[in-house]
C-alpha cells in the first residue's frame, strides 16, 4: 500500500467536513465539522512528514492541535454566550443585523 492513501482519506474527511459546515444549521455541529476539517489537515501533515522523512510535519500537526484546542475553548464560550442571550444554538437565529 502506498502511504499517499492516507492523503486521500484526509481529502475525503476534509470534504465531508466542509459540506457539513455549509449545510448544517446547529452551531455546535458546524463547530464539530470544523474540528473534523482540522483533523483531516493534521492527518495530511503527519503523512507528509512520513513521505518526506522529516519531523517538521509532525511539529506543525502538534501546533495545529494546540490552536484547535484554543479555538474550541473560545468558540464554545461564544456559542454559550449567544445561547444565553438568544436561547438558541441555531445559526439562523443570529440575525440581529439582518432586520
Amino acid at each position: 500500500m502506498n502511504p499517499s492513501n492516507y492523503l486521500f482519506v484526509s481529502a475525503l474527511l476534509f470534504t465531508i467536513g466542509s459540506i457539513g459546515v455549509l449545510t448544517r444549521r446547529n452551531s455546535i455541529v458546524i463547530f464539530m465539522c470544523i474540528e473534523l476539517m482540522l483533523n483531516a489537515a493534521n492527518l495530511a501533515f503527519v503523512t507528509f512528514a512520513r513521505i518526506q522523512g522529516n519531523l517538521d510535519g509532525q511539529v506543525i500537526a502538534f501546533f495545529t492541535m494546540v490552536v484547535a484546542a484554543c479555538e474550541v475553548v473560545v468558540g464554545l464560550a461564544i456559542i454559550v454566550s449567544i445561547y444565553r442571550s438568544r436561547r438558541s444554538a441555531s445559526v439562523d437565529d443570529v440575525n440581529l443585523l439582518k432586520f
Partner: protein
C-alpha cells in the same frame, strides 16, 4: 538490497490491513456525523473518527501525536463539546427548513467539487511515489526527535502558542463572566423578607410533602395540623409536570374525628 530500498517507501501488510479496515469506517463515521440529526450522535461519531485518526498517527510512526490526539481531542475537546451540548440542550436538533432556497444543493455541489479537486490534485501528484519513512529521524525516539525540533527551530512558535493558550483561557473566562446587576441579598435581608407583612414566604420552613406511609410521598401535598392540604409542600417541578395527586383519600373524615373524640 535494491528491493529493500524500493520497498522502504511502501507500507507492510499489517498496516495495509489496518488501513483498509479503519479508513472506510472512519469515512463512514464522518459521513454519518454530517447526516445524523441529533447533535449528540454527531459528537459520538466524531469521537470515533478522531480515535481512528489517532490509530493512523501511531501506525505512521507518530506515536506522540497519536497519544496527544486521544488525550487532547477525544479526552478534552470532545468532552467539552458534550458538556456544552448538555448545557445548550441535548435535543437542539437541526431545523430542516432551508432559509436560503437551494442552499443545501449548492453547498453539496461546492463541497463535492472541492473533494474532486483535492483528490484529483493528490492523485496527480502522488501516484507511484514512495515514502522516505521516519526510521532515520525517529532513531532516538519520536518524542526526542520532536522535542529537539520544538526547542530549536520552532522555539519561537512554541512560545507564541503558549501565549495563545493563555489568551484563549482568558477570553473564555471573559465570555463566561456575567456581571451581577442587582446586589446579592444577605442572609439578614432574606430573613427580614420572610417575616415581613404580606410576604409569600412563610417564616417557618415549608412542610414536607406526603401523608402517612401509604403512598410514594413526594407527589402528594402534606396535611396541615388542621387537616387541610398544603399545596406549597409539593415541589414546583412535580406541579409543572402535572403529577400531583390529591390528598383527599388520606384526609381525616368527619366520622374519624368523631371517633377520636
Amino acid at each position: 538490497m535494491n528491493i529493500v530500498a524500493m520497498n522502504a517507501g511502501l507500507t507492510g501488510t499489517p498496516e495495509a490491513v489496518l488501513f483498509w479496515v479503519m479508513a472506510p469506517l472512519a469515512v463512514l463515521a464522518a459521513l454519518g456525523m454530517v447526516l445524523v440529526k441529533k447533535a449528540v450522535h454527531s459528537a459520538l461519531l466524531l469521537v470515533y473518527v478522531m480515535i481512528s485518526l489517532a490509530i493512523f498517527y501511531i501506525a505512521q510512526e507518530a506515536p506522540f501525536l497519536g497519544i496527544v490526539q486521544i488525550v487532547v481531542y477525544t479526552g478534552a475537546v470532545m468532552m467539552l463539546f458534550l458538556f456544552i451540548l448538555m448545557l445548550v440542550g441535548v435535543d437542539s436538533s437541526d431545523s430542516l427548513i432551508e432559509t436560503i432556497r437551494g442552499q443545501r444543493l449548492a453547498a453539496l455541489l461546492v463541497g463535492l467539487s472541492l473533494g474532486v479537486l483535492l483528490l484529483g490534485a493528490l492523485g496527480h501528484a502522488f501516484v507511484g511515489n514512495g515514502a522516505v519513512g521516519l526510521d532515520l529521524v525517529n532513531a532516538d525516539g519520536n518524542v526526542q526527535g520532536l522535542a529537539s525540533l520544538l526547542f530549536s527551530r520552532y522555539v519561537w512558535a512554541f512560545e507564541v502558542i503558549s501565549a495563545l493558550l493563555v489568551t484563549a483561557a482568558m477570553g473564555a473566562m471573559v465570555f463566561g463572566h456575567r456581571e451581577r446587576t442587582v446586589p446579592r441579598r444577605t442572609q439578614r435581608q432574606l430573613s427580614q423578607d420572610r417575616f415581613q407583612e404580606g410576604s409569600q414566604l412563610p417564616g417557618a420552613p415549608l412542610p414536607n410533602p406526603g401523608v402517612f406511609s401509604r403512598h410514594n410521598a413526594v407527589d402528594i401535598p402534606a396535611l396541615l395540623p388542621d387537616g387541610t392540604p398544603a399545596p406549597s409542600s409539593v415541589s414546583r417541578v412535580i406541579k409543572a409536570r402535572g403529577d400531583v395527586l390529591s390528598s383527599e383519600p388520606f384526609e381525616l373524615k368527619q366520622e374519624d374525628q368523631g371517633d377520636q373524640k
